[in-house]
């Protein structure tokens, strides 16, 4: 009999929410988390009592504990601290972020500086645990999705996060590609499609070209600061304004009130996608400044009002889409399909705007926020099952090249090139009697060198002195199956050669990564131990309380209820043992103490009121 195959999962590691999926009986399905929800908020926190919180619980205390709550870590993963996106993101963060040793981003949480992959790993570990709870056995392999615009560093950082969480990342795939896979477009569509992904915090537009199962990302764009949370904020403002008008109190000054407003706003927004109006009901939202009975917030929000409050956001969405398509020189009529992804695409107004712009009905699954994870699961299944028609090829996400005179880039390997691959090109010196050339290895799509990511650089010296253009340098790029890039430069006259090996880096060294993985393992062991201790102590307290009750009753009975004297003595000894066990961190001692209590209890309870043991 064949051994049961190892469970495989696909993970949509989102900026605001994350999901995990698998393929079961040939059907891709979402695995609900242990609280029964399909979505796990991508939020990590350390509560005021030092407890690590991940997901829904962390999100629910985000406003009351903002400094120790990390959200939207995806905006920071794999980026340099000094980069523009990070500096932009810093303005919107409530938690502290510092610069690491390698210009990487570190998040300060509960007094510790964590690498961003460590934070993402906590979310992945939670999803892994949910999957393990679903399968009832360990899960170690996953496909994880990332935005199409992620560079090698960001992809590597996501892989590192997976490793820290105890996952072997089989493949990193693009989110729009995963969405298209979930719709089965690899088999049914040949041509261009657009994927509009409006998540909680970001809006990504991608144009893919599908050609016989090969997915080519031809354009990406969007707004990394436009998402469902903007709709929530509008509802919150509306509620705050209404309350201030009625009671003269600004609820924004109270963190507890704000947290409740945020939760209520999100709930109202979701409800208004399926009903025309909803009640917002927040009892005891605040106590008036002078004291007195707490006030309630009660109001009715209609879909029409919500659309009115957020009309400009919808217009922004269309504007951005139009811009991305324009830059890629793609007309809406060129598209074979339009896919709507993300929870926000359930909003009727957004569907209508997309329909109007593209003049076609967008494809939207029943659960638009689930399609990316489902696509990842399909890919994981295909990878292991070797279903070649669904198998995505491992490609370079962005073009690679070298900087050339004038500050431009010469691309040697275009994006979406299948790896392993190699390319060689001959360059010439740009100055007379030039003795040295500097090879700067770049990644990106921009024509100007400084807009691309510098992967590494080296010098080739000892060139023959000659007028410019006469010394020829042969530059070779080699990318192996593991994505490791080797770049070499050779003087064709002298045969002199220099090379560099570039490994995509998340900002963490291998040593750091190993240390973090060890820490993570220790933490998990300690957490498991603490849970066990806690539950044993609860059991001990309950048993001890029952035994004390029973003991007190026996003492009041004439002749100790007819019990032999050693029963009471043994019960007292069991209580003593319990007292000692409770003070030490030893599950074994607690278990033994519980057993001793449990043995004494039925004996004491058998005491009869008239001096004879009862039943």
């Amino acid at each position: 009999m064949a051994a049961e195959s190892e469970p495989l999962i696909g993970i949509d590691l989102g900026t605001t929410n994350s999901l995990v999926a698998t393929v079961q009986d040939g059907q891709p399905i979402i695995i609900k988390n242990r609280t029964g929800q399909p979505l796990t908020p991508s939020v990590v926190a350390v509560s005021k009592n030092g407890k690590r919180l991940v997901g829904g619980i962390a999100k629910r205390q985000a406003i009351t504990n903002p400094q120790e709550t990390v959200s939207a870590a995806k905006r920071l993963i794999g980026r340099k601290f000094s980069s523009h996106p990070v500096q932009d993101a810093l303005r919107a963060l409530t938690y502290q972020v510092v610069c690491g040793q390698h210009d990487d981003v570190r998040v300060r949480l509960a007094g510790r500086d964590l690498a961003v992959p460590e934070v993402s790993a906590m979310i992945l570990a939670e999803l892994k645990a949910d999957a393990e709870a679903h399968f009832g056995r360990p899960v170690t392999q996953a496909v994880i999705t990332v935005p199409a615009y992620f560079n090698d560093g960001q992809r590597q950082a996501t892989k590192d996060a997976g490793r820290i969480a105890g996952l072997e990342v089989l493949r990193i795939i693009n989110e729009p590609t995963a969405a298209a896979l979930a719709y089965g477009f690899g088999r049914t569509v040949n041509g261009k499609i657009a994927v509009l992904d409006l998540g909680g915090g970001t809006f990504d537009v991608s144009v893919l070209e599908i050609n016989n199962g090969i997915f080519d990302v031809v354009a990406t764009g969007g707004d990394t600061f436009l998402g469902g949370e903007d709709w929530d904020h509008r509802i919150m403002e509306w509620m705050v304004f209404g309350f201030a008008k009625e009671h003269g109190i600004d609820l924004r000054k109270d963190r507890m009130a704000l947290q409740r407003l945020k939760d209520a706003a999100e709930k109202a927004k979701v409800e208004l996608s399926s009903v025309k109006e909803t009640q917002v009901h927040l009892p005891f939202i605040c106590t008036p400044p002078g004291g007195g009975a707490a006030l309630h917030l009660q109001s009715t929000l209609t879909r029409e009002k919500l659309e009115d409050l957020t009309a400009d956001l919808g217009e922004r969405l269309v504007g951005i889409t139009s811009e991305v398509l324009g830059e890629a020189k793609v007309r809406p009529s060129d598209l074979k399909e339009v896919i709507l992804v993300g929870g926000m695409s359930r909003m009727p107004r957004i569907v209508e705007q997309v329909r109007q712009y593209f003049r076609r009905e967008p494809c939207k699954g029943v659960h638009a926020e689930e399609v990316v994870a489902l696509g990842a699961a399909i890919q994981a299944h295909a990878l292991v099952g070797q279903q070649s028609e669904l198998l995505l090829l491992d490609v370079t996400p962005q073009s690679m090249g070298v900087a050339i005179a004038g500050g431009y880039v010469r691309r040697l390997i275009p994006r979406n090139t299948t790896v392993p691959t190699s390319a060689t090109e001959v360059f010439a010196t740009s100055k007379d009697f030039q003795r040295t050339v500097k090879i700067m290895v770049l990644q990106g799509e921009h024509e100007l060198a400084h807009h691309n990511e510098l992967l590494g650089e080296f010098l080739l010296t000892g060139l023959r002195e000659a007028p410019r253009g006469q010394v020829e340098i042969e530059v070779t790029f080699d990318i192996n199956a593991e994505g490791i890039v080797s770049v070499s430069a050779r003087d064709r006259d002298t045969g002199l050669r220099q090379s560099i090996t570039v490994t995509a880096s998340s900002g963490l060294t291998e040593d750091e990564l190993r240390r973090i993985m060890d820490e993570q393992r220790d933490w998990m062991v300690a957490a498991r131990n603490t849970e066990e201790l806690k539950s044993k102590r609860v059991e001990l307290d309950t048993l001890a309380r029952d035994l004390v009750d029973a003991l007190s009753r026996v003492r009041l009975m004439p002749g100790a209820g007819g019990l032999p004297p050693d029963v009471v003595a043994r019960a007292e000894a069991a209580l003593d043992q319990a007292r000692q066990a409770r003070g030490v961190e030893d599950v074994g001692a607690l278990t033994r103490a519980c057993e001793a209590l449990a043995q004494s209890l039925p004996l004491l309870r058998s005491a009869g009121p008239r001096g004879t043991p009862g039943r």
Binding site: K51, I57, Q61, I285, T287, H296, R545, S552, R553, L575
Partner: protein, 258 residues
């Protein structure tokens, strides 16, 4: 000496009464009268001379009517039967080796090992000028602790700490009292892994007499978060959260759940 101590206890009792802890205040007045039977003020405040003291109305927000009651009694066995009368109503402070026979001593035991360096011969007024308000408060707190009124003691110690924030003795005593009080309240809640649920309909909830903090905690209870999680997401101290949860449970607003 007894007369002086009784005077200090009366002062501390008045402060407790101001904060709404009538039961705690009464205990202190009774203790003052016990030490100095001639203390007319204590007698009057106890209503044993025919009428309450003028100006006793504190304007206390009745939003949390029973919160400040005797937590020791609250934290006791939950279903007292007729044969339980001889049991102590509340938990003894774990001094020395502790008293056998009460399960809650087990809980207190854990804290005894973490007693922040309190000396055996603890004198609450140590280092403070005789007759100062802090001294009165400490004496009052000590007496309340002896009477198992941890809630009242914590109230006085908080006040003392606001007057003498750097005093290590005040801090240590307060810390210890709070820990014991938290333990008692947690014992009242039972297994902290249980997920409480709201027993009332939304229309009935608005008629309750809660403050906004209790309202916040109540809003988080959805049958999917445990007591333990609620401590984490309340944004309040463990003691305040435990008090609110115990109040909600006691008033039948929430059920402990599975």
């Amino acid at each position: 000496m007894n007369a002086l101590r009784a005077k200090a206890l009366v002062e501390a009792g008045l402060l407790l009464r101001l904060s709404g802890d009538m039961a705690g205040a009464e205990k202190l007045f009774a203790r003052a009268l016990e030490l100095d039977p001639g203390n007319a003020r204590a007698r009057r405040l106890l209503g044993r001379d025919g009428g309450p003291e003028q100006g006793a109305d504190t304007g206390w927000n009745l939003a949390a009517p029973d919160l400040e009651a005797d937590w020791g009694a609250w934290a006791g066995p939950s279903a007292p039967g007729p044969v339980e009368a001889p049991l102590r109503e509340s938990v003894s402070l774990p001094e020395g080796t502790g008293m056998p026979g009460d399960a809650l001593d087990l809980i207190a035991e854990a804290h005894r090992t973490q007693e922040f360096g309190l000396p055996d011969t603890f004198t609450p007024a140590g280092g403070l000028p005789e007759g100062s308000e802090v001294e009165s408060l400490l004496r009052g707190a000590e007496d309340l602790l002896a009477l198992d009124d941890h809630s009242g003691a914590v109230e006085l110690l908080r006040r003392a700490q606001s007057l003498a924030p750097e005093n290590p003795r005040v801090e240590a005593l307060r810390d210890r009292s709070e820990r014991i009080l938290v333990s008692m309240l947690e014992a009242r809640l039972g297994d902290l892994n249980r997920m409480p649920r709201v027993r009332l309909q939304p229309d009935d909830i608005i008629w309750l007499n809660l403050d906004h903090r209790a309202g916040f905690v109540l809003a988080q209870i959805d049958g999917a978060v445990s007591f333990d999680d609620l401590f984490a997401l309340s944004g309040m101290s463990r003691l305040d959260t435990a008090r609110i949860l115990a109040q909600l449970l006691d008033e039948g607003i929430i059920a402990p759940g599975e």
